[in-house]
Symmetry: C2
């Protein structure tokens, strides 16, 4: 195995560390309903209703200045007070992936402010991105968020802001799973 | 399965469509010796001495102007006269992957001219890149090249040019396999 990337399997089923509070299909086909989700980072994941896989890997658009600002401000996963979570799997369209890198960066940041616009939600909303596209997974990205119950309205604001961007016109499938620690 | 990416398995062993003419370890650990290589694009790959996997995916650094120039000039794989090939697996260092995207792009193109400097080798040298990093493979990239016997010196010039770049200081493992159609 190579080093530097880490495979995470999100298993949806009837038991797990996180209970599903709400599951909303924002775009495209729904996922089968589940009542709990586990994030498995080592060993063979248990069988579930579905398993979504992604890799924690290097950032694809972030510039140096942005990277140091993000690293200085973001919180890690696993804060005891962060008892709420969200898992948002998305797939972008073929039109997105056909764009050259500078075109994707311009839409992502210069016009949609994906990084600059979300800095204000740090460190309240902790976040980890998992890449699934090169694995042949049904979703290109699985983003996992953790926050306190008090920050739930802030999280709603964050996702509403992103969904209104030009970048989101390229999202053809999106599921929004809201979770609480069981 | 998601669409838009394609998994290719390179199987090294005792039989296959391409015979190994030379195998040179440029940096890092060697690969076990094999006499032939097959590129398997569908179905379960046969057992071999080793199997290296990578995904044909979107370009990570190419700008729009470069992408249209590349698309206009490059040849596809499988030209009958292109009876020579090379498979060059490389892994880059953790220091490379820790860089922000704009820093990697500056080294890759603005300072190492990876795209601009290789345009002159098109269409003579056909090329396809396979990404292995997110698969947890031992190599980040597997590049497959095809060319005519007459263009072998041109190919030598291309790899020598790339190995002299600043970008290549981040290459910590590299194997150079030269092949001919069997």
């Amino acid at each position: 195995m190579g080093s530097g990337t880490r495979l995470v399997s999100f298993v949806g089923g009837q038991a797990g560390a996180w209970r599903v509070e709400a599951a909303t299909t924002i775009a495209g086909a729904a996922l089968p309903a589940v009542t709990a989700i586990d994030a498995i980072e080592a060993g063979e994941p248990p069988a579930g209703t579905w398993t979504l896989r992604g890799v924690v890997s290097h950032a694809r658009y972030t510039h140096a200045r942005e990277q140091s600002e993000l690293r200085a401000r973001q919180a890690g996963l696993g804060r005891p007070e962060a008892t709420r979570a969200a898992l948002i799997p998305i797939r972008k369209s073929a039109a997105w992936w056909d764009l050259a890198h500078d075109e994707r960066r311009a839409i992502f940041e210069e016009r949609s402010h994906h990084i600059a616009g979300t800095l204000k939600y740090l460190p309240a909303i902790a976040r980890r991105l998992h890449h699934g596209r090169d694995l042949g997974e049904p979703f290109d990205f699985l983003t996992w968020f953790e926050f306190t119950p008090a920050d739930m309205p802030l999280f709603d604001e964050l996702v509403a802001m992103l969904r209104a961007t030009e970048e989101w016109r390229y999202v053809e499938r999106e599921i929004d799973l809201r979770l609480y620690r069981s």
